[in-house]
């Protein structure tokens, strides 16, 4: 859980100032340091950014009364703004999960 929190907080902060792909950096770093096995690393990394991106999207959706998310849902032809929010979370999650996995695999020596 600490891994999730560290990735989430760091990625959230980096994302404020750096391009979107900066969300991969905490995953690589903390994945390396936490030395977890491959799939759990992916899962924790995924969860962290799924919550950060999905959560921000959900918040924006509600504060904006769903005006923009509904239009984007129409544009993408997905029917519901909640799918747009879900996709946001999944995209962030995929990048971070893969990054955390990569970081953990680098430290394969540490596990042995």
């Amino acid at each position: 859980m600490i891994l999730v929190l560290l990735i989430a907080i760091t990625a959230f902060l980096l994302n404020l100032f750096l391009p979107w792909w900066s969300i991969a950096l905490p995953g690589v770093l903390f994945g390396y340091l936490f030395k977890q096995r491959g799939w759990p690393s992916f899962g924790w990394g995924f969860l962290a950014l799924f919550v950060v991106w999905g959560g921000q999207a959900l918040y924006t959706h509600f504060v904006n009364d769903g005006i923009l998310s509904s239009r984007i849902a129409d544009m993408l032809g997905v029917g519901s703004p909640f799918i747009v929010i879900l996709v946001t979370g999944v995209l962030g999650g995929l990048v971070s999960g893969l990054a955390t996995l990569s970081g953990s695999l680098l430290n394969v020596k540490g596990k042995e």
Partner: protein, 804 residues
């Protein structure tokens, strides 16, 4: 081996990031796009904009921009430079994407950002000479220090806004299409005005009229295109006396016949483009002061084509709607006067058949000699592809287009040059600059001298009690019917030999009837000594306006507001009673009789909750096709279709009109047959389309109003806006066209304005303001416009600009 796994994992990660950062076809770069901090989520408006202060080196004084509760900016500046700077800044702030798209389109540069899908549009724009015309207009603007200063100030303001943006602040459309705003220049303003000329004054049916004469003969031309409907009700009423010396013009002895029937690109104006305006003298109003009304009909889009603004500076206080990218107010009022506009259909676009000396196209035959052509290289950049280079040849007429069509297969290629008003040197902006400052009627008369194109019917009202209408624009002095057919490019008699002096343009001030009006119909009665055009809008809207105004007295703003929403169909009233008489009832089944009865009981109003308007319109359209399409289909060329008001006259006057027969059948059909058959066809089609006869046949549904986003992004418009109206009604709402701005102004000691447009100040689809006025527009509500004399104490929020 131990490094293989992490290596693969990193490679996959990098591949994922790169692909989520790349645009594939029309799919935006997904990672960038969904990023909650800088992607589209950043465009979701989560709070009202805040008041803010800015300083810019360019400014010499202080500017305060107050936004009212509808977020209309009221700009108070110490001098004109600062005023137009602020106008550029706030317009860009609300409408940047739209400003850029319109000018990219006008410059033939869409493909730079949109790729191959817009290439043919861009090539067409270049061949029309749009960039060429814009460059000439800018040259002329530069000669006028005040106008050029306003253009410069406006550009500086737009650029000050653009340079304040980081990619996350870009309007959402940039993120979808994945490009960035570029620097604004005065040339872009010139391009924007050329775009209006293309929308409003690029109507030409020259080849179609020539073809129609070739296939159906001169008699057909005479009957449908030369003869005017008896109910025509011109803009300048016949009471006007033309007390000037008409400048003669020499016509050729016989009319040129083009080499072959060819199809030029279609430049037909869609019906729906058009507008209403009128001004009523104080003698007919309750207040004793004039009232002015205007509703320009254009393609209804989101964001709206208009942007409401008040401009206040020493010597200037004006309010109205502006076009994004153009300094000043286009339609509006000031403390003393008001003005409105409708489009004039005058023929200012002609095609000339060109005879080249040889395939090099270096010389062409004109006035009994070979003359040199010039060339202009058009480079169209295409996103993701190589630049397309097109060499366009220019004659003294204008740019040359090669016509290729099935009809010409195996024949010599035919070339046509385009003579178009948009290629003239012009300083049209001066016209609005002076309108904004006009105090008396004579100020308007001076201002319109600068107006070249697109030709407009401007109406005016002043607090001195004057009203008037001025058909404004630069008109070639033509011989009768010159340019309605394809012209001979070798004969100087087909050239535009001169111009009608502006003061001889059709115009009238304070007519006896106590009002002036225009609805795109014929400019003047047939005794007007110059030829302008043979193809104006049908008389229906114009006659309805004049009928109503003639019968009204003690007129108030509320009366005019109601009149703007009038949806009476002159068209239906002029033919439906006859159709009901001609239809053969014995051959109708019970369902058809029920529907016919509904139509019979109809009051001719295009109201959303009635079923009859849709049935009638569908029937009329089938009937029109039933009469003409069989003959038109039998020719290999594209022909010109007659106007419905004239067709109705012929239908009534000539029971044996040959076109009633369907030439594709053995039987000889009569008028009764075609009327009855098309009624049955209509019922069948409507039942297929809308189900059994019921509320789903309501006109509000059939009217089919979709407000598309300006770049046609799905979900960013408004679909199926249920509404009354019809293209032949004053409320000319129909099929995504209609009143793009409704305005009523009461001039007088205290001018009062009312208005609405279907949209909102903000161009951001993520803002509740984006379509906030749509419902008021739909129901015919008008907002009282806050025309301020002093900076207000109450406002939604405020931006302040000052120099350093």
């Amino acid at each position: 081996m131990q490094y293989l796994k992490p290596l693969v994992s990193f490679l996959v990660l990098i591949a994922l990031i790169v692909s989520l950062n790349t645009q594939f076809g029309t799919i935006p770069p997904l990672g960038k796009f969904f990023d909650p901090d800088a992607g589209f989520w950043a465009n979701a408006e989560v709070s009202l904009p805040n008041s803010d202060d800015f300083s810019f080196d360019e400014l010499t004084g202080e500017v305060s921009v107050f936004f009212d509760e509808r977020r209309v900016p009221h700009i108070f500046a110490d001098n004109e430079y600062d005023l137009y700077f602020a106008q550029g800044y706030v317009t860009a702030r609300d409408r940047l994407f739209q400003m850029e798209m319109q000018t990219y389109d006008a410059a033939g540069r869409l493909s730079e950002n949109l790729g191959e899908r817009t290439l043919s549009r861009d090539m067409g724009t270049r061949r029309l000479g749009m960039p060429y015309g814009a460059e000439k207009a800018l040259e002329e603007n530069k000669k006028d220090p005040e106008i050029f200063a306003s253009l410069k100030a406006y550009s500086d303001g737009v650029n000050a806004y653009i340079s304040s943006l980081s990619p996350k602040d870009y309007p959402v459309e940039y993120k979808i299409l994945d490009f960035a705003p570029e620097e604004w220049t005065p040339l872009k303003t010139a391009q924007m005005l050329k775009n209006m000329t293309r929308i409003l004054a690029a109507g030409s049916q020259d080849d179609r009229t020539s073809n129609t004469a070739m296939y159906f003969g001169d008699e057909f031309i005479e009957k449908f295109f030369s003869t005017k409907p008896a109910l025509n009700d011109p803009i300048v009423p016949p009471t006007k006396e033309w007390d000037f010396e008409h400048i003669p013009v020499q016509a050729p002895d016989t009319l040129f016949k083009p080499a072959s029937a060819v199809e030029l690109e279609s430049f037909q104006r869609p019906e729906g483009i058009g507008s209403n305006n009128w001004a009523i003298s104080g003698s007919k109003t309750e207040s004793g002061y004039p009232i002015l009304s205007n509703d320009p009909h254009l393609s209804l889009t989101l964001p709206s084509i208009w942007y409401e603004v008040q401009l206040h500076a020493p010597g200037l206080n004006t309010y109205g709607v502006s076009l994004q990218g153009v300094p000043g107010v286009i339609i509006g009022f000031n403390e003393n006067t008001a003005w409105g506009t409708t489009n004039t259909g005058a023929d200012v676009m002609d095609w000339y058949e060109i005879k080249f000396r040889d395939a090099s196209k270096k010389e062409y035959w004109h006035d009994n000699q070979w003359k040199p052509t010039t060339t202009r290289i058009e480079e169209v950049k295409v996103k993701g592809q190589e630049t397309v280079v097109d060499t366009v040849f220019y004659t003294h007429h204008g740019p040359v287009t090669k016509v290729e069509s099935d009809i010409n297969e195996g024949r010599e290629p035919v070339y046509h040059a385009l003579r178009w008003i948009a290629h003239e040197y012009s300083n049209d902006l001066r016209n609005f600059y002076e309108f904004n400052r006009a105090k008396t009627y004579s100020d308007f008369e001076e201002a319109v001298k600068y107006w070249t194109a697109p030709a407009q019917n401007f109406v005016f009202a002043t607090n001195e009690g004057d009203i008037g209408v001025y058909v404004s624009g630069k008109f070639p002095n033509k011989w009768e019917y010159q340019g309605r057919t394809v012209s001979d490019g070798t004969d100087p008699l087909y050239d535009w030999q001169g111009w009608i002096p502006t003061e001889q343009n059709p115009n009238i001030k304070n007519p006896e009837r106590g009002f002036v009006s225009s609805a795109n119909q014929e400019s003047a009665a047939p005794d007007y000594p110059y030829y302008l055009e043979d193809d104006y809008a049908p008389y229906e809207r114009g006659r309805r306006i004049n009928d109503l105004l003639a019968g009204m007295n003690d007129i108030t703003k509320e009366d005019i507001q109601e009149m703007q929403m009038d949806d009476y169909s002159y068209h239906a009233s002029s033919i439906l009673p006859q159709l009901l008489e001609w239809v053969n009832r014995d051959s109708l089944n019970n369902d058809e009789i029920e529907i016919l009865t509904a139509v019979e009981n109809w009051n001719f109003y295009n109201s959303s909750d009635l079923r009859a308007p849709g049935v009638f319109r569908w029937w009329w359209s089938n009937l029109y096709s039933g009469i003409f399409n069989d003959e038109y289909r039998s020719t290999e060329a594209t022909l010109r279709y007659p106007s419905r008001d004239r067709v109705i006259e012929v239908m009534k006057a000539e029971p044996d009109f040959a076109f009633f027969d369907n030439i594709e059948t053995e039987k000889i059909e009569t008028r009764e047959d075609v009327v009855t058959d098309t009624f049955k066809e209509t019922v069948r089609e409507l039942t297929n389309f809308y189900g059994e006869f019921g509320d789903n046949w309501n006109w509000g549904i059939m009217i089919n109003n979709d407000f598309d986003h300006i770049a046609f992004i799905p979900g960013f418009g408004a679909e199926n806006v249920y509404s009354s109206g019809g293209s032949e009604s004053i409320n000319a709402t129909r099929n995504s066209w209609g009143p793009s701005w409704r305005m009523v102004v009461e001039v007088g000691p205290e001018v009062k304005g009312y208005g609405v447009y279907p949209g909102g100040a903000s161009g951001n689809p993520g803002s509740p303001n984006y379509d906030s006025m749509l419902e008021s527009w739909r129901t015919g509500e008008l907002y009282e416009l806050q025309f301020l004399k002093e900076p207000p104490t109450e406002f939604l929020y405020q931006l302040r600009f000052k120099g350093n």
